[in-house]
């Protein structure tokens, strides 16, 4: 090599270096821009993996092993598409979903949405506290101790904090979902097999397989999350210019939410399904069954994940519900107000927590039925909310250039109709289980 060649190489390397440096710099800049917005999408999607959801994922893995994993990819798309519309509305209009329904559709539709939303959300709150009770029982703590403490902690935590602090606590809670990743690793699954089933669909046409499939979808996309997501973007004062970052946040949330579902299913598939314990009905039972199969830590982490998920959702749901109802009906809302200024808001919030926790504490509370009721409620409720979202996001007067494109509309309506059909099937089969279970 002569000198000219060497110096050419050096120059080339230098250019590559500075190119890399400038690319790194632009990457860092983009990351900072993203970090200013990230939060709402990540939190909302993860809260969605709540007590009810985790129970269903557990059953899916225990009964069908890896066979249902393929549904996660279409579900990620459905979750992203629907959430993205709400994020876009929040960012563009600066208004919450209930505000927009009120302004565009009038008082009565809003009232109907709010009343139904209240009862469906209440059922969900009960399910979350039931999740707290079940997970603490794994650790040998009676529900009569665990649930009241959880209720008080939730009540105080949210009322004392401002949005920023609460968001940080919630983002930390998102990290705790990683306990399911470790649980799955301890379970020593066949990763190759899991990956294959994720990409290649395995279709069975027996009825209980279909029921499980609809159950998965029905619990993953909950109607209340749309209100919460949009309100968070509004509260965070994200501007239309930051919309690309908001979209990235939603995408990140959808993917991470589904990744956790993946690990839950893999964990139970590798243990419960493989050892033939296929009739597990809830997550707490699964956590107990995991201990002899995959070791103490797998079970403990699994139970801890359930506790975290339940507490997380129990903190967000009552607050979000009270907020949405008050905003839609024009009452003062928000934790910045004092009790005297926003009595209805505080009463709703307190009632949701007190009744939610109270029902779980009843000595012979039919928790299993409540869990089903909350899922049925979500199922019936989801189509209504999604249709409102689609109608609103297509109003040019509201969204301007940000209305759905034709392609997006097609994807969104197909998603919506598929979700509606599936959730209706799920609802039907939960109410009348016999009609399907006879092959």
């Amino acid at each position: 090599m002569n000198w000219a060649q060497i110096s050419e190489r050096v120059e080339g390397l230098k250019a590559r270096g500075s190119d890399l440096q400038s690319r790194l710099r632009s990457l860092r800049r983009r990351l900072t821009l993203l970090l200013a917005v990230v939060g709402p999408g990540l939190i909302t999607s993860n809260v969605d993996n709540d007590a009810g959801g985790i129970s269903v994922y557990t059953q899916a893995g225990a009964q069908y092993g890896y066979a249902l994993l393929w549904s996660l990819i279409p579900m990620t798309i459905a979750l992203y598409v629907t959430e993205e519309m709400c994020a876009r509305m929040g960012v563009v209009t600066g208004k919450g979903l209930s505000d927009l329904i009120r302004e565009e559709f009038g008082f009565r539709p809003t009232f109907f949405v709010m009343v139904c939303g209240f009862f469906v959300d209440l059922a969900n709150v009960v399910a979350e506290f039931a999740g707290v009770a079940a997970s603490m029982q794994i650790f040998g703590v009676s529900k009569y101790i665990a649930v009241p403490i959880a209720a008080v902690v939730v009540w105080v935590l949210v009322l004392r904090g401002n949005y920023r602090q609460v968001e940080i606590v919630f983002l930390a809670a998102c990290l705790l979902y990683l306990s399911y990743v470790f649980s799955a690793i301890f379970a020593k699954p066949d990763w190759l097999e899991a990956a294959r089933h994720t990409v290649i669909p395995t279709l069975h046409f027996d009825s209980s397989y279909l029921v499980m499939l609809t159950g998965l979808i029905g619990t993953t996309i909950a109607p209340w999350q749309f209100f919460y997501l949009q309100a968070s973007f509004v509260e965070k004062k994200v501007s239309p210019r930051q919309y690309p970052q908001a979209r990235a946040d939603v995408l990140l949330g959808s993917i991470s939410c589904m990744a956790i579902v993946f690990f839950i299913i893999v964990c139970t598939a590798a243990t419960l399904y493989a050892s033939g314990q296929r009739n597990i009905t809830d997550a707490a039972e699964a956590a107990k069954a995991l201990i002899p199969l995959a070791g103490r830590w797998a079970g403990v982490l699994f139970g801890f994940g359930l506790l975290n998920a339940s507490l997380f959702a129990a903190s967000i749901l009552p607050l979000s519900t009270a907020h949405v109802i008050c905003e839609g009906l024009g009452f003062e809302a928000g934790i910045d107000h004092k009790f005297k200024e926003a009595p209805i808001f505080y009463w709703l919030y307190t009632i949701l927590i007190a009744v939610g926790a109270g029902i779980v504490l009843l000595p012979h509370a039919p928790l299993w039925k409540i869990l089903i009721f909350s899922q049925v409620g979500n199922g019936i409720w989801l189509p209504v909310v999604v249709i409102f979202i689609l109608l609103l996001v297509n109003r040019r007067a509201l969204m301007g250039e940000y209305v759905n494109t034709l392609t997006f509309n097609i994807i969104a309506w197909v998603t919506a109709i598929a979700m509606i059909v599936l959730t209706l099937v799920l609802t039907y089969t939960t109410i009348f289980p016999r009609t399907i279970s006879t092959p």
């Binding site: 600066g94 208004k95 009038g106 008082f107 009232f111 965070k236 004062k237 501007s239 239309p240 024009g330």
Partner: protein, 413 residues
Amino acid sequence: MQMYATELMGAETYDDSGNFVGRIREFFIEPAEQASRVSHFLLSRGRFPPLLARHDQVAAIAPGTMRLNCSERLLELYSPNEAWLAVRKDLLDQQIIDTKGRKVVRVNDVDLTEQQNEKNVELRLTQVDVGLPGAVRRLLQGVVSPALIRKLQSKLPQRTIRWEFVNLVEPDPLRRVKLRISHEKLEDLHPADLAEIIEELSTAERHGIIASLDEETAGAVLAELDKRLTTQIVEKLDPEKAAEILEEMSPDDAAHLLAQLSKETSEELLDEMPGMEAEEVRELLAFDPSSAGGLMNPDFIFVGEQSTRDEVLQWMRSQDLNLDRLDTVVLLDNAAHYSGSVPTSRLLLASPDQPVAEMRTEPLLSVPSDADESDVFELFDKYNLRTLTVVDAENRPIGIIAVDDVVSRLVQK
């Protein structure tokens, strides 16, 4: 008689010979004519094109029915008019600003009262209902009997806002002009209250209000607003207007605002500002935001230490001084070095020819411009200060930190 828009919506309308014409679907107010009179009624007729009844064509109106004093043939066909305020579309369920209660509220119903003229009856909008009675009426109208609704709502706590205290929020500037929406009432509010109101509105509405306020108010509001919103709003404003607003702000507030913008935008705005003001702000921007220099305001009053109280007062009266910055008078010695400060309260009580040097506060306190803000906070706390002078390397005063700057910085933390 007191009536509500909800009760009148859908009212059957008959002409002078008793023929059914249609049902009321909407009321319009023409703000250019009269601010509260219902000027037109929109009558829907099923598959036929809707008609308009003018206010002077109405003979009687009551919940459920309206009678005209002319024949159906005299009514004109409806065509939309941007200069009319539509009660149902623009008012019901929308957010308005209650300028008296200083907050944003949502309209549940609209209260109307009738005014009997010689040949016709006019409806006037008296107040908007933002409380439970309006909500109950909206919910139950047509479901249970009106008498029952009236009985029910009389038991509920009233929450209404008189029409003259209602400030509509219309993001479209052209429509705003057509509807004669001015923000004069908003300009009378305290900037901090106005900032809180604006934070509750949507993005477009915020821009609309800031853009239409006078520059001084807009500047004061921007200084009070949530930081994330300030940058959004300023970036969207016309640069000329933004520069005018910045010019009206105190230099330290302007510098804080510009520091949050991108370099290009902030340079562009500084170029639009007049030289003197821009220079002042540029100098402030050079300081680290968390240093004494980043906290101070370069607008302050300084006098020679040999002056007497009366000389100082006379000089102050002759100047056009900013009242917010009158807390302290800074003293200079012959070499223009800092030699102390005198609170204006001491000037009030001194005798006319007392030298100001005798009134200065002890101990002699000042901070260098590069001192950390935590040192500044400590000094304020330790000596219970209301102001503190910032000096440069040669001990020349360059600005003053007031206690309100310290409080807002501490609250932000």
